[in-house]
Amino acid sequence: MIRRASAWELALVHAALVVATAFALYPVLWVVTLALSSSRVPEPTALPLPTRPSLDNLRAVLGATSSSGAWLFGRQLANSVVVSLATAAAGCLFALPAAYALARFEFVGKRTGVSALLATQMFPTVASAIPLYVILSTLGLLDTRTGLVVCYASTSIPFSVFQLRSAFEAIPRELEEAAMVDGATRLGAFVRVVLPAARPAIAVTFLFSFMSAWNEFILAATLLSREESFTLPVLLSRYVGEHDADWGRFAAGALVVSAPVMALFYLTQRHLVGGLTSGGVKG
């Protein structure tokens, strides 16, 4: 029997949580207010609230066009969507069989392979940007969606392997054993029984790979040079350069870019922690 807490103690707990929540929400409020203002620079106020809401900044970001009149934002949005989808798909496709093997089979070289894969995750993304840049430029893939997908896949495949391995481990072996008793092959059991059972975990892995690609900034900023090939993070960071800082547009863009991934994040986050801690992933 746990003792009932006194009322003032509970009030204290609530107070602490409210302060922490305020800390967590303050920058978000700042960005939202700025996005809904019509100015280039933030007002130096302690409590940012949209006093004169305006959609000017949002309109400017969404309606950006290139010098030839093409709808630039739409193009960049498409880049982000395509690159992120392809990255997530590549991650899952390559990782599914491997993760299954790691979860179910004992094989020679398994331990060495897994620890080598873990070790590669410690090589900073920024550092692999240099050889990737050289390799992509040799292949003529700089500034293309394919090139970016190739780079992102180098993170999404290991990530998906670790995520899916723990998902497969959580599925009882009896399921596929029963199928094999009924005459299914190992591969058949994997495709017909294990994959459907793991569908939620696969969805989570897919969405999370999608989100990391959607949010990736530094490789995209390094590898892409044409506005038409930018992904949205590069667009945002360019709004606040040293010579020309338009915080209003940055905030409006941030709102547009973050809202969908935040929604996805809330869909998937409950399933995330276990997989993350079971295999290291680059930040």
């Binding site: 707990v13 007002e43 290139s66």
Partner: protein
């Protein structure tokens, strides 16, 4: 099961996606390609579009490349033949461009026939004409007509006569920028690049020029920490009576007060004019462009009289025509800049010039903050300059290294072969075969995408230089790094100092993450708490926001003039803090950002871990008379430790490599002191002469540190 209809649709979607993804823009008849770095929608870009739309030679493919990465992209693309035919850039890079074979000599001087001789000289390198000058840019003095009615004959007169707005400053000047400082240096007779390509500002005259600006700042005549964007902000809103800016600043002023432009005055103290640096923007032919005649026609058109008229009228820049265009004869703005250009000092085009800026910027900021005397700061800048300019390490015979790698590979394959033999003997290998079928796919992908770049990166660290000058240097980079480039072991920018900062950064972050996340996790796990779900959802918001958005938003919130953090501090009566001018505050700003970013992960981990603490154990402890604190320390914490430990290890690796926050929030300011190892490596790779080999050596060291560190941790937690 998915229906066959749905499956067909899915397959069609995937095929479409793949087709779009892989489609390359290559086509048979290649149009001319032109690159520029003008801002999208700016006056110069509009002028260029107008000029190109009237080009009689057909369609041009125009690419606007971000200014920050312009040189890097040119370096990478042109030598491989997939760059532009023509590009527009400032003349000061021609030495570098010629050395790299990025520009080609003009087949004839014809396109420059009616251009000003001084401008043509600026694009001539060792007797060869390598570009067609288009426009001239320099700094001039913007004057708010109401606050400064008469043109001041010298700078001192401006300060005596201007009537600034209440709370305003007299002269908005980007005091932390070397480019903007050039006229002050010139007024004292100091130059940026000395004879024999030495760092020219490290003289008593150079020091006096910085001391003057520092004194003006102390007296409140010049704003503190002004970036170019703040300069236009202040002048455009009437909060500065005058501003030093280039022609591009006019485009940034939205609804400015009435103003006029005059050339920079002289300095009464020395009697010399404040001569700014002159940049001549030119169109360059790449080797690819020279081979086809169309590109020559294009540069000729770009320099033609019609094009110059448009450039002056629409782009409002001073052209390079020998006889001024009609707009330049009538527009007082252009007249002022033309006069300023005539008096300005052409920027030296030797490759060393570009390396002057970063150390000079840092020295300026250091003095303006009052952290060092002008003389010391400039001596340090000269040291930095020499450091980046240091000669390449000598060529080394690769044979012993190759032999060593061969021996190691041989040894490894011997071990692998022995293991394989054992496995064959016991039948383990045969049993493993089906598993290999599953793994093969991913293994090949990982080898190609992960391991190959990694190995290539590590191999790069044994090379230096590029092109014809590339050479194998063995361990020279490692030796240089680990001996702190011959300076003090904990000197500015030395590997050990950066490592120390990185370790401090990681330790401070992880401590705060675990304390804050752990405490909140404990609170949220209370049985008697209402509204738990709401708190949880709101508290993990920072985790959901993309980290680069977080970093940039906090950077804005830490802005000295318009940031929310200083506004909050003002509520409790604290003076505005200039966050990025001091190590302690800049580090705290990064730390606060990263704590915000990272604590939700630990809240969630902690809540998950606490579910594994069974109630009966806690009750048993309570029955035994343990106090709350004892129950927390003796029962709860030991039980959550195994779950928390891997999360802490993961968080530590993340933080150690947390590039986004350091790079975007403080950008290493002040003076590169808040840089961590990864951002330092990035700077060596993509700034500072692109010393890829050196940067790669940094990366390998980071990897080694993390690898050894995590192994040690693992062993400790295992025992």
């Amino acid at each position: 099961m998915i229906s066959s209809e749905a499956r067909r649709r899915l397959a069609a979607c995937v095929a479409l996606l793949a087709a779009w993804l892989l489609s390359s823009p290559a086509s048979a008849a290649r149009p001319l390609v032109l690159w520029h770095a003008y801002r999208e929608g700016g006056a110069e870009q509009r002028a260029l579009s107008a000029i190109l739309s009237r080009f009689p030679g057909g369609q041009i493919e125009v690419l606007a490349v971000p200014f920050e990465g312009y040189a890097t992209k040119l370096h990478a693309a042109v030598p491989r033949g997939d760059g532009p035919d023509v590009f527009i850039d400032a003349h000061e890079r021609i030495g570098d461009f010629v050395a790299r074979g990025i520009v080609a000599e003009l087949p004839s001087p014809e396109p420059c026939a009616s251009l000003a001789e001084s401008a043509v000289r600026a694009v001539t390198w060792e007797g060869k004409l390598v570009g067609v000058p288009l426009s001239q840019k320099t700094l001039a003095l913007y004057l708010n007509t109401a606050q400064v009615p008469d043109d001041p004959p010298d700078l001192e007169a401006l300060f005596e006569r201007a009537r600034p707005a209440p709370g305003g400053v007299i002269l908005a000047h980007a005091s932390g920028s070397a480019y903007a400082h050039a006229p002050f240096a010139a007024a004292f007779g100091a130059v940026f690049l000395g004879p024999d390509d030495t760092f020219g500002l490290a003289t008593p005259e150079g020091a006096s020029s910085i001391e003057l600006v520092a004194a003006l700042t102390r007296r409140g005549l010049v704003p503190e920490d002004a970036t170019p964007s703040l300069v236009s902000e202040l002048f455009g809103s009437g909060k500065a009576s005058a501003a030093i800016g280039g022609p591009w600043m006019a485009g940034d002023l939205r609804a400015p007060p009435p103003y006029r432009v005059v050339p920079l005055p002289r300095l009464r103290a020395t009697g010399r004019p404040m001569r700014p640096l002159l940049t001549v923007e030119a169109a360059f032919l790449t080797p690819r462009g020279r081979d086809g005649g169309a590109a020559v026609a294009l540069v000729t058109w770009l320099a033609s009289e019609q094009a110059a008229e448009l450039r002056a009228r629409v782009g409002r820049t001073v052209t390079t025509r020998a006889t001024p265009t009609s707009a330049e004869r009538t527009d007082p703005f252009l007249l002022a800049f033309a006069r300023a250009a005539a008096e300005a000092e052409p920027m030296p085009s030797r490759p060393a010039m570009r390396l002057v800026f970063e150390p000079t910027d840092r020295a300026l900021r250091k003095v303006l903050r009052g952290d060092a005397s002008a003389r010391d700061a400039l001596a340090e800048a000269a040291h930095r300059f020499d450091d980046v300019r240091r000669p390449l390490p000598p060529r080394v015979d690769a044979t012993p290294y190759v032999a060593l790698v061969g021996v190691v590979l041989l040894g490894l394959s011997a071990v692998a072969a022995r293991r394989a033999r054992e496995a064959v003997a016991t039948g383990a290998l045969r049993r493993s075969l089906p598993a290999y079928g599953y793994v093969a796919f991913a293994a090949v992908a990982v080898l190609v995408l992960v391991v190959a770049p990694l190995v290539a990166g590590a191999a790069t660290s044994f090379f230096a230089g590029r092109g014809d000058d590339a050479r194998f240097v063995g361990l020279a980079h490692y030796v240089t790094i680990l001996t702190a480039r011959g300076g003090a072991l904990l000197g500015t920018g030395s590997f050990y100092l950066v490592l120390l900062v990185t370790v401090l950064w990681t330790a401070a972050n992880i401590t705060l993450h675990v304390l804050l996340g752990g405490a909140l996790g404990l609170l949220l796990s209370r049985r008697d708490l209402r509204g738990k779900a709401i708190y949880r959802v709101l508290l993990i918001v920072p985790w959901a926001v993309p980290s680069y958005v977080t970093a940039l938003a906090w950077k804005g919130m830490f802005h000295r003039q318009m940031g929310a953090v200083n506004a909050l501090l003002a509520l409790v009566g604290v003076e505005p803090v200039s966050w990025f001018s001091r190590f302690s505050t800049a580090f705290s700003a990064n730390l606060l950002t990263n704590v915000w970013l990272g604590f939700p992960f630990f809240v969630v981990v902690m809540m998950g871990a606490l579910t594994s603490v069974p109630d009966d154990v806690l009750e048993a402890a309570m029955v035994d008379g343990a106090t709350r604190l004892e129950r927390l320390l003796r029962v709860t914490l030991p039980m959550v430790r195994p779950v928390l430990a891997p999360a802490v290890a993961l968080g530590a690796v993340w933080t150690f490599n947390m590039f986004n926050v350091v790079f975007l929030v403080s950008s290493g300011d002040p003076d590169g002191t808040t840089d961590i190892l990864v951002s330092e490596a990035y700077r060596w790779a993509f700034a500072r002469e692109a010393q890829l080999g050196y940067a790669a050596a940094y990366s390998v060291l980071i990897f080694a540190l993390l690898f050894v560190g995590s192994r040690a941790l693992e062993r400790r937690s295992a025992s």
